[in-house]
Assembly symmetry: C2
Homo-oligomer: 359 residues x 2
């Protein structure tokens, strides 16, 4: 606390990202990173940008990331003016709160969801109301048929991984023509249906994606919003009042190359999905209740073992998973899907912990 | 305009960065980039981070950029908790407006200064008042002895390049103990005195720097704030409510390597300073009034030739300089200092334009 702080600083509840352990070889299943590296074309594109003794690095990047947006637009069959690029989907979401979700009526999002949402709301003084998931952690879109200044949720939802059918999203967006619905598709490529195909029909739909998960580039910080050009314009106006150049030159070429290697992307996603199904079977066999997931994570609880204790016991074995100390979910573990080998180490460790468990 | 926009979007006046021409070999003297590439150690550090098939890129970067902050802190002889790292000094300044400069009393900054400041103020609804520079474009710190919620200016000032002695800054900060003074030192390494040495004595002083100019890394987007740990804490709280990871892995290692090659840095700055003095002499010989500069830019006007016309005539020759269509300075050119060869091309082009000038 300080007299020099603006008032807002006193009221913030900063987001706490998952731990980045400094160990040499942790089994890191706590931040939903992809277990496979990015396409070799990404490395080649970065190396090319370093040509001529790094001559390009002395120059500002394209503030509009036009080539990247053109590549991603072509990939999705839309226009570049329907694409916004930002410093990871976290920055894209932050700018979205400021540009499109601050209205007199409250923003709606689920009670169990990405824990950054209430943090953004406090930073930008956005009034919000949470809508409970049902007992199976499903979103029921009819629960959102109340006056609102915007609707926001991930599909699949975080931290549950549970997907919502595209037909439900279409019904919701059609019913809420007066406010923007934002679908946060950070995990969509692991088995859910994207709503990008709806943006031409619905001027009130914004879809947010990232290269951090399915394209193995969490380390490079690139995210996107897709929507009507008018919505994208609002994001650009706020971005250009905040930071003209959020994407450096290497991030722009890296993300572009990732979209140009669709075979790598599809192969990586297929491997993660197969590992997820094996891990879900393994956890179920150990007695866990596992939420059906279309993401690169599993959300699971065990009746017999305390979740916080399991996190600690796993951590002693240099295996990292995440738990949220929040209502309804404090007995769940959120487990990122690793390689089959990493998932095997996790299952072995859990067996070992259970055999010696003292609660 | 759209019913979906938050109110603030309608009131913004986004910053317009200098043009990034798509020509193969423009003489680009319009965005104050360094004419020399970054240290070879920067390229080496980036290449090392790509080892193991880009294994590290799939993982989130350190959200606190600790190693980078430790390196920069050691360089300046301060502690890492006195250093904030952001996505370029533009993002650092934006977060500073939100975290430290929004108070009941108005923020003060010069009438002629970095044109992003009023844009930030509108985005974050910060009340501000401008203080006129004197006729020689100098800041008189006694003009700032009025009630305020903060004071902000670049040293050297933009777009003039005119430096302020450190003794004046110390006097100003000492007199304004109740609010934060922010010194934006984007250009300081080209001949002005940094105020970083004062942060231990003044808890109300924040100093902002960037690797975009003197360290030739405009393309990588890294900036810093230096100050009392309490001020840095405010910036971290806002940053962690906005975007946990604004610096990607390659930006972190690149900036760190740039600080580790001090000889390259000093040599580059010395070359730019020498070119600036030669260019200033050349412009003066052509009849320009040139503001004394301690930056990598010159601010100059010619009694006989219209500035907007000169910008167009130079542009036809693929030479880019910048002009601001603003009161008191619309007849000035802001010319980034290039290599001696680039400066020579500019002087030749001006001679040519003058010889054929029709106003």
């Amino acid at each position: 606390m300080s007299r020099y702080w603006s008032d807002i600083v006193h009221r913030l509840t900063p987001y706490v990202p998952g731990e980045q352990p400094l160990l040499a070889h942790p089994v890191k299943l706590n931040t939903n990173e992809n277990p496979y590296p990015p396409s070799p074309r990404v490395l080649e594109a970065i190396r090319q940008e370093l040509a001529d003794a790094g001559e390009s690095l002395r120059r500002y990047p394209d503030p509009t990331a036009l080539k990247l947006r053109e590549t991603v637009a072509a990939y999705h069959g839309i226009r570049a003016d329907q694409v916004f690029a930002g410093n990871g989907s976290d920055e894209v979401l932050a700018l979205t709160f400021q540009a499109l979700l601050k209205h007199d009526k409250p923003l709606l999002f689920p009670d169990i969801t990405y824990s950054f949402y209430p943090t953004y709301a406090r930073l930008f003084d956005v009034d919000y109301r949470t809508i409970p998931l049902d007992d199976s952690f499903a979103i029921n879109v009819d629960d959102y048929a109340v006056a609102n200044g915007g609707i926001l949720f991930p599909n699949p939802n975080a931290p549950t991984g549970r997907p919502l059918p595209l037909a439900d999203i279409e019904r919701l967006v059609a019913k809420n023509a007066d406010s923007v619905t934002v679908i946060d598709e950070a995990y969509v490529d692991f088995g859910a249906e994207s709503a990008i195909g709806l943006i031409d029909r619905f001027p009130n739909l914004l879809v947010v994606q990232t290269v951090s998960k399915s394209r193995s580039l969490a380390g490079m910080r690139v995210g996107f919003a897709f929507g009507n050009a008018e919505l994208i314009d609002a994001l650009n106006r706020v971005k250009d009042s905040f930071n003209s150049y959020p994407l450096d030159r290497l991030a722009q070429v890296a993300a572009r190359a990732a979209y140009e290697d669709d075979a790598w992307f599809r192969d990586t996603c297929a491997k993660v999905i197969a590992s997820r199904e094996r891990l879900a079977a393994g956890l179920t066999a150990l007695g866990f209740d596992v939420v059906p997931s279309a993401a690169n994570l599993l959300f699971a609880r065990h009746e017999a073992y305390d979740a916080a204790t399991l996190v600690l016991r796993l951590r002693e074995r240099e295996i990292f998973v995440r738990r949220f100390n929040a209502p309804r979910i404090d007995q769940h573990l959120r487990i990122s899907v690793g390689t089959d080998a990493e998932c095997g180490l996790l299952l072995d460790a859990l067996r070992d912990i259970f055999s010696a468990y003292i609660g």
